[in-house]
């Protein structure tokens, strides 16, 4: 398939992100105002300077009015879109293409989700009227299927696997502890993680991402205009989104140890960005750690680890904040929280801070050592039937690109 990409044609020149978590203090409107204001401020713009808007939300509102009404936008194009947990990323992707097309000078991608007001545990997704035969599993249960399958395929003992999953949760909580916007700002002892009450399969409460409220936004302009707005823009190197045919729950050859959709989207993104050895070339990755086994499998699907050895790399600390390739230095979905429509843009927000050297206490060393690119990976759905998004951003224009 053709995926020509828009390498170095679009730049991010401003971003904003609210605190994520139980925002009993704020409604959807409040959070949209907060993130959009921060984003235009950081680009030195007024809201009226933005030509068009892409709003991502899974269920916190319908239509462009969800944004235009609270912000009192004056007759501007506003698209509202949904792509499950990759919603925020897809809002960003569509906004980027609009800029690349030349249709607009400055656009906003913004994501929001208000999950906590429902009063339910976990994520609640409304489904169309059906025949009642869809498996009733919750998200943690669907992703917990990865654990026994991975162990069986690679001969990993239950105890070793527990250590791997605990390590991922421990790392992301540790990173989130340094993040003032994160939902959970506390380091969690490995024993606490390991001994937590089980939610689904072998997944305890600390293996699951935080159900949160939050919003994040980005201002995009054409790359050649970037320095008009900021000294430190991020250039979009690659952007890819694929929706799978739903093979996993259908095809006995799918073994629940990989996400085909992630492999596809990563391959396209690396090709667009000209990356051949991601583990050595990129400074950091923000990945979709909705549940701890997801992050493990993603390390292999994104090519950071060889198949079957991701678990060893996790245990060796390769993906720790001070490791070879920091993964989720902001705490990830695990401790930053996962307001669905906002999460993809939140991932980009961490790239924005880290590549610009503005991440404070959690600033990663790989940037100082000269790496200029960061990756975000965002997925929605379940193992074997999902949508996956991968983007690569960089702080420099590539020569000759």
């Amino acid at each position: 398939m053709t995926s020509n990409g828009i390498r170095d044609k679009v730049a991010i020149v401003g971003m904003g992100c609210t605190r994520f978590g139980e925002r009993w203090d704020a409604g959807v409107d409040d959070m949209l105002i907060e993130s959009s204001t921060a984003a235009v401020d950081s680009a030195g713009l007024k809201l009226g300077d933005v030509d068009a808007f892409w709003l991502g939300t899974m269920g916190s509102g319908v239509s462009g009015l969800t944004l235009s009404r609270p912000l009192k936008l004056g007759y501007k194009p506003v698209s509202r879109l949904e792509n499950m947990c990759a919603t925020g990323s897809d809002a960003f992707r569509n906004a980027a293409y609009a800029v690349a097309s030349g249709a607009f000078d400055a656009v906003m991608a913004i994501g929001v989700e208000k999950l906590k007001d429902s009063g339910y545990s976990g994520l609640v997704v409304s489904t169309p009227a059906g025949d009642g035969t869809a498996p009733p599993l919750t998200a943690p249960a669907m992703f917990s299927l990865l654990d026994p399958a991975y162990r069986a395929k690679y001969g990993v003992s239950e105890q070793d696997m527990r250590e791997v999953l605990t390590r991922i949760a421990w790392k992301n909580h540790r990173n989130g502890a340094l993040n003032p916007r994160a939902q959970f700002r506390k380091e969690i002892a490995p024993e606490t993680i390991t001994q937590a009450t089980k939610i689904a399969g072998n997944l305890g409460v600390f293996d699951c991402s935080g159900v949160a409220d939050g919003s994040a936004a980005a201002i995009l302009v054409r790359a050649e205009d970037a320095y008009k707005y900021t000294d430190k823009p991020l250039f979009l190197k690659a952007v890819s989104l694929v929706a799978g045919p739903g093979r996993g729950p259908l095809d006995p050859s799918y073994d629940y140890t990989s996400f085909d959709e992630v492999t596809w989207s990563a391959r396209q993104a690396y090709q667009q960005a000209g990356i051949t050895d991601p583990r050595a070339e990129i400074a950091m990755a923000e990945v979709h750690d909705c549940f701890t086994p997801t992050e493990l499998v993603l390390m292999e699907d994104l090519g950071f680890s060889q198949r079957g050895s991701g678990w060893k790399d996790v245990l060796s600390g390769a993906f720790d904040r001070d490791g070879e390739l920091p993964v989720n230095p902001d705490g990830g979905l695990k401790s930053f929280g996962h307001p669905i429509g906002a999460s993809g843009l939140r991932m980009l927000f961490e790239c924005w801070l880290q590549l610009r050297g503005e991440a404070g206490e959690r600033q990663i060393a790989t940037v100082a050592s000269g790496r200029t690119k960061a990756l975000t990976q965002n997925l929605g759905g379940q193992p074997g039937a999902c949508v996956s998004f991968v983007s690569i951003v960089g702080s420099e224009l590539d020569p000759g690109a």
Binding site: G119, Y120, S121, G122, V124, T127, A129, G130, D131, G132, T133, P135, P136, L137, T138, P140, A141, M142, S144, L145, L146, P148, A149, A152, K198, I199, A200, G201, P245, R247, P249, L250, D251, P252, Y254, D255, Y256
Partner: protein, 472 residues
């Protein structure tokens, strides 16, 4: 059309020890166990299970289904149609309910005997916690197949009824429990009907009590039944055990369960008498044919009873029966299944039929576009209900809504192709492993908005024969 050509019984796997009732309440209960339908079983799913067992064994396509129960999941809407759909029968096969009392089961059999087809007798019986009714009741279903004399395993020599109007037991529609009049009254009221029906049946068949080899005497009236046994001059050696000790009285299906038990052991030319007390008395006399040897149920009643090894504790029993409300997960309740998609997908939802593309790749649920070839509408239907599968991976979902948490689910890879992730039932999550063999069973997933959501679940194949499996 008067002949029996096959039969099958289903007693659900759950067992409640009556001592557990005594211990919990300080009264009631007693000795032995009663059979307990699982939280996802009702009289319709019990009927499907019994009917599937029968149709799996016998080369038989019923011309009709006559479903009898005192505990129908629906009124106004026919329950037999769900059984019909789960058995993948054609629209030309009749299906009707005979609902109300134990007598309804006899009417279903009379209809099947006269018109042909299959009578399915099914009940989940209940009582107020601590009552004798609760302890002595049981759950179970029996399918009886009627057809041509050439294939008969038993022929009916006589059938006679004595009808009486008197208050023995009754239940106003909408109420959960029967009320019963003082037992001594019923004992006397029944006696004349028992004598009348008994003698007329024997006379019609030209037999005497001494000619009988197996005698079934049952009814929900315990004293009346005991009186009948004493008064009819029956050789105690011929009495078919009533299974109250292990199963309990399964109401509409109970006489058929005992009849099936007798058929399991009967030899050619032996005579089986069936005496059923319900608003009078009904007596049937059957002669077993030479074909009984090849026509016996593949799973004898004794085996379906002794396979019931899933211990159900009393709080769980009360919760399953709706007497004990339990805290549910902080999750939304499931959606009521919608009528139009349920109808469009009836072959899947009820029949568990998948579709296979031109390469044979199986799609579950059935699809129009092939995953492998991309061809559109090149599918042929495939029946999956009878296929076993293996667990590819599995989980225990402690967050999902369930009538009996937690939800245990697995990705099942079916023999001959096809994969489907679905709920497991009658399962011990702790003993599950990748590669375990499962089979499909028709269950009620949940009820919402007055709609019962029927679909299929997988259960471990070994579950029915495993011993001492703990229920949690």
């Amino acid at each position: 059309m008067n002949s029996l050509i096959g039969y099958a019984a289903y007693v659900p796997a759950g067992r409640l020890a009556r001592q557990a009732i005594t211990q919990a309440l300080g009264f009631g209960g007693g000795g032995g166990t009663r059979a307990v339908a699982a939280y996802d079983e009702d009289s319709t799913t019990l009927a499907v299970e019994a009917a599937r067992r029968a149709l799996n064994q016998y080369d038989y396509t019923p011309t009709g289904i006559w479903l009898a129960t005192t505990t129908p999941p629906y009124l106004d809407k026919t329950n037999a149609t769900a059984v019909h759909a789960a058995l993948n029968l054609g629209p030309d096969v009749a299906a009707a309910d005979v609902i109300g009392s134990v007598r309804s089961g006899l009417a279903a059999v009379e209809a099947a005997a006269a018109l042909g087809g299959m009578a399915v007798l099914t009940d989940l019986r209940d009582g107020v916690p601590g009552s004798n009714e609760e302890a002595t009741a049981g759950d179970g279903a029996v399918a009886l197949l009627f057809g041509n004399d050439e294939e008969a395993i038993a022929v009916r020599l006589a059938s006679s009824t004595s009808t009486g109007e008197f208050l023995d037991r009754w239940r106003v529609p909408g109420e959960r429990h029967s009320q019963v009049w003082e037992e001594r009254f019923g004992e006397i009221a029944y006696a004349e009907h028992v004598t009348s029906a008994w003698h007329r049946a024997l006379e019609a068949a030209g037999l005497t009590a001494g000619d009988l080899d197996h005698v079934v005497v049952t009814g929900l009236h315990t004293r009346g039944t005991a009186h009948a046994v004493r008064s009819l001059g029956i050789d105690p050696a011929t009495l078919v055990p009533n299974r109250i000790d292990s199963v309990g009285n399964t109401g509409t299906s109970h006489w058929a369960l005992m009849f099936a038990d007798a058929l399991d052991r009967a030899r050619p030319q032996e005579i089986i008498a069936v005496v059923t007390l319900s608003d009078g008395c009904h007596v049937q006399l059957w002669r077993v044919t030479a074909d009984i040897g090849r026509g016996r149920a593949a799973l004898p009643v004794q085996d379906t009873i002794s396979s019931g090894s899933r211990h159900v504790d009393y709080p769980r029993f009360l919760s399953w029966r709706g007497y004990l409300a339990r805290e549910s997960p902080r999750r939304p309740e499931p959606e009521r299944p919608a009528a139009p998609p349920s109808r469009r997908m009836a072959g899947w939802k009820y029949g568990f039929n998948a579709s296979a593309d031109e390469s044979g790749f199986v799609h579950m649920p059935p699809a129009r576009v092939s995953l492998h070839t991309g061809s559109i509408d090149a599918m042929t239907p495939v029946s999956m209900a009878g296929r076993q599968g293996r667990i590819a991976t599995f989980t225990v979902d402690r967050l999902a809504y369930s009538m009996s948490p937690p939800v245990v689910a697995a990705v099942i890879d079916f023999e001959g192709g096809g994969r489907f992730p679905c709920e497991l039932t009658d399962v011990d999550a702790e003993s599950l492993a990748i590669g375990d063999t499962v089979e499909m069973t028709f269950r009620r997933l949940y009820s919402q908005g007055g709609v019962h959501n029927y679909f299929w679940k997988a259960r471990p194949v070994a579950a029915e024969t495993a011993k001492g499996g703990a229920q949690r």
